[in-house]
């Protein structure tokens, strides 16, 4: 008996194909039951997320036969009538365990090191466990995978840093201000990214939100949604006297804030730092304002560059993580308990 994996992910297939093979959560127990009833697998876990669909199975069949049968099962279960080849990947031991540990640690994710997959894998395992579709081998393998993921999280920098524009903006604010609790956020233009960034700042303790928009209704609606207040677009610059973080994403074809407008405001602010995040294209804020003392201006490229640099740092950590995983897989395979015992826990 050995652990095998068959699946398709964002690395091998487009979303159009992944969605054809996705399992609805409520139907997974039935699929697992069918898989085991077919005699193909003694134990099984199905992981189905937006980025991957995978079946982890313990089978007595030879690897080649098992993969062919599992492929047939997948195709039949989803009534898929198209062609499928390299989009499906397969792993036999020890690579199957190596793959499981990588998935749990976020190393196989679209954004390397992300943690959401850890929770999704845990949910998938628990669903199979509750319905008694796992046994000694998969229980041991998944428990070990979760431990390895935690170990990697604490021992490496694989999850360090902001890999999205929103989280980079929050991190910047924390580098400038002692505590976000003392600062309100001004949202200029009620766009989706600025809204998400404001939400991220609020979740990190920002005191409140002030929204301004050409359409006052939209400003009021967003302000209500975020628990803040709206100010008229005609005099939003007055708000900058009190507010220290501004996120701008209007559709204006020209700069709505330039050095001439900001300079007198900075004098009124008595040198309090001001963080300006300009995520509009074309840009809302004249880059020359960054030359003013105590003004820190970041545009969308700057934030994306920070996110990309962090991602590169994470990639540099992958080798360390792979080494840890190789050691842990070897240790698991050598462990006496991970050999022959079958049955449900």
């Amino acid at each position: 008996m050995s652990v095998v994996v068959i699946g398709l992910s964002h690395r091998t297939s487009p979303v159009e194909l992944r969605e054809r093979f996705a399992f609805a959560e409520g139907k997974i127990p039935v699929a697992l039951q069918a898989l085991r009833a077919s005699g193909l697998a003694g134990e099984a876990v199905i992981l189905s997320t937006c980025n991957r669909v995978e079946i982890y199975a313990v089978t007595a069949l030879a690897a080649g036969t098992a993969f062919a049968e599992l492929k047939k099962f997948l195709v039949a279960h989803h009534a898929y009538d198209g062609a499928i080849g390299d989009e499906l990947y397969t792993f036999a031991e020890p690579h199957s365990l190596h793959h499981l540990f990588k998935v749990a640690s976020g190393l196989d994710s679209m954004v390397i090191g992300e943690t959401e997959i850890f929770g999704q894998l845990k949910d998938a395992y628990e669903l199979a466990f509750i319905h008694k579709h796992t046994g000694a081998r998969l229980n041991k393998a998944f428990q070990r995978a979760f431990n390895v993921a935690k170990h990697i999280r604490t021992e490496t920098n694989i999850q360090r840093g902001s890999v999205s524009v929103m989280s980079a903006a929050v991190e910047l604010a924390e580098k400038i201000f002692s505590s976000l609790a003392e600062h309100e956020v001004l949202v200029i233009g009620a766009g989706e990214t600025s809204e998400k960034t404001a939400r991220a700042l609020l979740s990190r303790g920002a005191r409140g939100v002030v929204v301004t928009n050409r359409s006052p209704e939209r400003a009021t609606a967003l302000a209500t949604e975020l628990g803040g207040r709206a100010v008229p677009f005609e005099n939003w610059t007055d708000a900058l006297e009190q507010i220290d973080i501004a996120i701008s994403s209007t559709a204006a074809p020209h700069h709505i804030l330039d050095r001439a407008k900001l300079e007198p405001l900075m004098r009124c602010r008595r040198n309090r730092p001001l963080l300006l995040i300009d995520i509009a294209v074309p840009r809302d804020i004249d880059p020359a304002v960054n030359e003013l003392d105590n003004v820190y201006l970041y545009n969308v490229d700057d934030l994306q560059s920070i996110a990309a640099d962090y991602l590169n740092l994470r990639k540099e950590e992958v080798a360390r993580c792979e080494k840890i995983i190789a050691e842990k897989v070897a240790a698991l395979l050598e462990a006496n308990k991970f050999s022959t015992t079958d049955g449900h826990r």
Binding site: S162, L172, K175, S178, N271, P273, N294, Y296, D302, I306
Partner: protein, 273 residues
């Protein structure tokens, strides 16, 4: 243990400061990414030995050990090192040690020059509480100014990295620039208060025949330093001087203080007896 004098003890302290400086270089190169205790412990070891050296000298003299340039310099460094250890306990301030260690090491090596520590009798002339207060508060003020300069340097580095969108600003585990500015301002004000007390205490000391205070280079220099720091504080608090200019001023003032401290002491009739 007669062979192990206070100077030996200070030499060991400077060795620890040197090790901390080496480790600081490593931390600089790594961009202050790991928040560890190694540098803090090295500096703490140095300050402990430094304290022992000063206690030994103080016990020998039966007074505060600030009677020549060596003693004055070591007292200043001790105040700086101790303040650094205390402030480093604040969240994200452990890297203060990495910025302070090079100053302690460089000035410590300078203080070890034998000519700065000429032999004197078992008890120096003009010892007494007021004299100790005068010397100790002024040197503690310089320690506070030193630490303010260190915090200002940290601010300027972080400010530069944030202004020019360097990734190091995000990766480093330095405090926020708002916090660094606050610490710099507070330390400068504390230093200014101590300097004022020290200067007033100095003015109350017994007068020397034929040595008027206001013609002594050290007194003129001290008054100049007092004015410099007064200007920095007033300009920042009441005239809206920008944080960047204020912190540059704090760094320049302390570098000037360090460079001219020994020279004015050397030419001072009142302080070089």
């Amino acid at each position: 243990m007669n062979w192990f004098t206070d100077r030996h003890c200070f030499l060991l302290a400077v060795t620890f400061y040197g090790l901390a400086t080496l480790y600081s270089v490593f931390l600089w190169r790594k961009g202050f990414r790991r928040d560890d205790w190694v540098n803090y412990l090295l500096l703490a070891g140095g300050v402990a030995l430094h304290t022992l050296a000063m206690v030994k000298r103080g016990l020998t003299l039966h007074s505060c050990p600030v009677n020549n340039l060596y003693e004055a310099t070591t007292f200043l460094l001790w105040a700086l090192g101790l303040a650094c250890l205390v402030y480093s306990l604040l969240p994200r301030f452990k890297f203060l040690a990495a910025f302070t260690a090079p100053v302690l090491f460089a000035v410590g090596v300078f203080a070890l020059m034998p000519s700065l520590d000429p032999p004197h009798g078992p008890k120096p002339e003009f010892s007494g509480a007021l004299r100790s207060l005068h010397a100790a508060t002024i040197l503690q003020a310089y320690g506070a100014f030193g630490l303010a300069a260190v915090a200002a340097a940290m601010f300027l580095m972080q400010h530069h990295d944030l202004k020019f969108h360097k990734l190091r600003a995000m990766l480093s585990m330095l405090p926020s620039i708002q916090r660094l500015e606050l610490i710099t301002l507070r330390l400068t004000i504390v230093g200014f208060g101590l300097l004022s007390i020290g200067l007033v205490a100095g003015g109350l000391l017994p007068r020397h025949e034929g040595k008027p205070y206001l013609s002594d280079p050290k007194v003129i220099w001290s008054a100049l330093m007092w004015l410099v720091y007064l200007e920095l504080i007033v300009a920042r608090l009441f005239f809206g001087r920008s944080t960047r200019r204020f912190t540059i001023g704090v760094v320049i003032a302390f570098v000037f203080l360090l460079l001219t401290f020994g020279i004015t002491n050397f030419y001072s009739g009142l302080h070089n007896q």
